[in-house]
């Protein structure tokens, strides 16, 4: 299966978008080569601003550009975008509800060798808790392009969580991302795995493994963490009676929390959360880290089996 990193798809989507929409501007903080905004810079140098190693300033500058009708995409690593510039996102972007798109790359532990200082495990919790913020977690290259497009059509601030490592392409080119509408990747009766980002591919693999053992599980892909597709989650709970969430993020505050909140309020069923268990990551190869921290297809399959 072809693998493409979502950051790679982001860089390409920006170039396409830049050609279509003259109001799109791109800001980076000395990571354009890594975040892949460099492609946009090459095509549209006068609409690209490198703010240097100054993330707070990048977010504030984007806010100012947005007040004048520009559509700024800001990129840096997720850990810096949401951590270093948290207050700027809160005060200068989210509170005034400005249309600033924060497309953060290198999210999660699959950053790999750089280690915990560069691995955001709490960015979704921070951005999900932020009023006005829309949160996308694309699972593949096609969803990334869709999220970029959808972000432009959104009203207020948008967070797009992107990864460093290659992930399988799950959708055909005809796939259309509808914000807030979860995608049923696979239908099943015994349990539902609700996943986002690169864990969607792992969830599909887990479903295959379980099918071989006669367990029929569905996979729901939540590419929009906010607004959350409450109906799709409740439907899955009603149909299958057991839910496992899977995310490359802390089990606190991200997808697992969002689903647990939804089930608790609307349709409580047994559930388990696969994700980082309140710990930081460390250096290692992405695959090694996914194994060590329990984020593989096997881990998901085990969670399903222990639940039903």
């Amino acid at each position: 299966m072809t693998k493409i990193a979502t950051r790679e798809a982001y860089g390409q989507a920006l170039v396409t978008l830049g050609a279509e929409n003259p109001d799109v501007v791109v800001l980076d903080a000395d990571l354009a080569k890594s975040t892949k905004t460099l492609a946009f810079k090459k095509h549209f140098p006068h609409r690209f601003f490198d703010l240097g190693i100054a993330e707070a300033n990048m977010i504030g500058t984007a806010a100012g550009l947005a007040t004048a009708g520009k559509i700024p995409f800001c990129s840096t690593f997720a850990v810096f975008a949401t951590g270093r510039a948290y207050d700027q996102i809160r005060q200068s972007v989210a509170y005034p509800n400005l249309h600033v798109i924060i497309a953060a790359t290198h999210a999660g532990i699959t950053v790999g060798e750089d280690g915990a200082s560069h691995q955001s495990v709490e960015d979704l919790a921070l951005m999900r808790a932020m009023p006005n913020m829309t949160v996308f977690v694309p699972a593949d290259a096609v969803e990334t392009a869709g999220a970029v497009r959808a972000a432009v059509a959104c009203d207020g601030p948008v967070y797009i969580r992107l990864g460093r490592s290659g992930v399988p392409v799950l959708h055909g080119d005809d796939f259309e991302l509808v914000p807030g509408k979860a995608v049923e990747m696979r239908r099943g009766l015994d349990a539902t795995i609700i996943a986002c980002g690169l864990m969607v591919a792992q969830a599909l693999e887990a479903a295959e493994q379980l099918a071989a053992e006669g367990i029929d599980v569905g996979v729901l892909n939540v590419h929009t963490l906010k607004p959350l597709d409450v109906q799709a989650i409740v439907n899955a709970a009603q149909r299958t009676g057991a839910i496992v969430t899977a995310e490359e993020h802390s089990i606190i505050g991200g997808l697992g929390s969002a689903v647990a909140e939804t089930l608790a309020e609307h349709y409580p069923v047994p559930m388990l959360r696969v994700g980082l268990r309140d710990v930081f990551g460390e250096s290692g190869k992405p695959d090694e880290l996914l194994r060590k921290y329990g984020l593989t297809a096997e881990d998901i399959a085990n969670a399903v089996q222990s639940l039903i």
Partner: protein, 273 residues
Amino acid sequence: MDMDQAVAELAEKARVIRRHIIAMLGEAGSGHPGGSLSAADIVTALYFREMRLDPSRPDWPERDRFVLSKGHAAPVLYAALAERGYFPVEELGTLRKLGSRLQGHPDMKKLPGVEMSTGSLGQGLAVANGMALAARLDGRDYRVYALLGDGELQEGQVWEAAMAAAHYALENLVAIVDYNGLQIDGPVSEVMAPEPVPDKWRAFGWHVLEIDGHDMRQILAAFAEARHTRGQPTAIIARTVKGKGVSFMENEVDWHGVAPKGEQIAQALEELA
């Protein structure tokens, strides 16, 4: 209009604005008089002479922008906006009350004329940079003004933004430092000395002007010089007196964030009569 008359009219307007500040804060029962009063002459000069504005069209794309980075001085901004006709003067009495458009710190989504929501110090200059860049991208000639506190200069983001503004040669940008020498915990020089302030801005690549921030002629001359400055942004370091115009508030650190009450309101208004 000749200069003497213009200066006299602006001084009179600043007096009216100072009265509004006292009345609003008295009515609200909380808020920040010191830094509102120190900035009154500068803000008056901006709104009643320097800036290109049309209060009937707060969204006019060609308007000049003012970012009150020291957002706690909201009363001076509200008073200027009301006097300039953005909303009825009577509305000033709703400051900080439930349902009011005049939030404790400026909210651009609530009140027409407010260009940026502020309150978390250190952020306004970066936003002003973005506005100034947008003007360039759109080929518009509007200008952008940001007012910062001297204590606020301790925020690292100010210097990130200062570096960026010079890097992008934002000649349509003016940063004004309300150099009143005080912050909450004491004199700025004791809490975290910023000196030499003008040299710092110069070293960051700005055209720097030092003025008396209560001398209307100097304020206007500085804005005029900034308008003719090419290739770099202008920083106006305005020496001011915190609490200016109300004798018992002047240079008093304790009048940073408490509102006057009863007899204090009466005395302040009398001094500003």
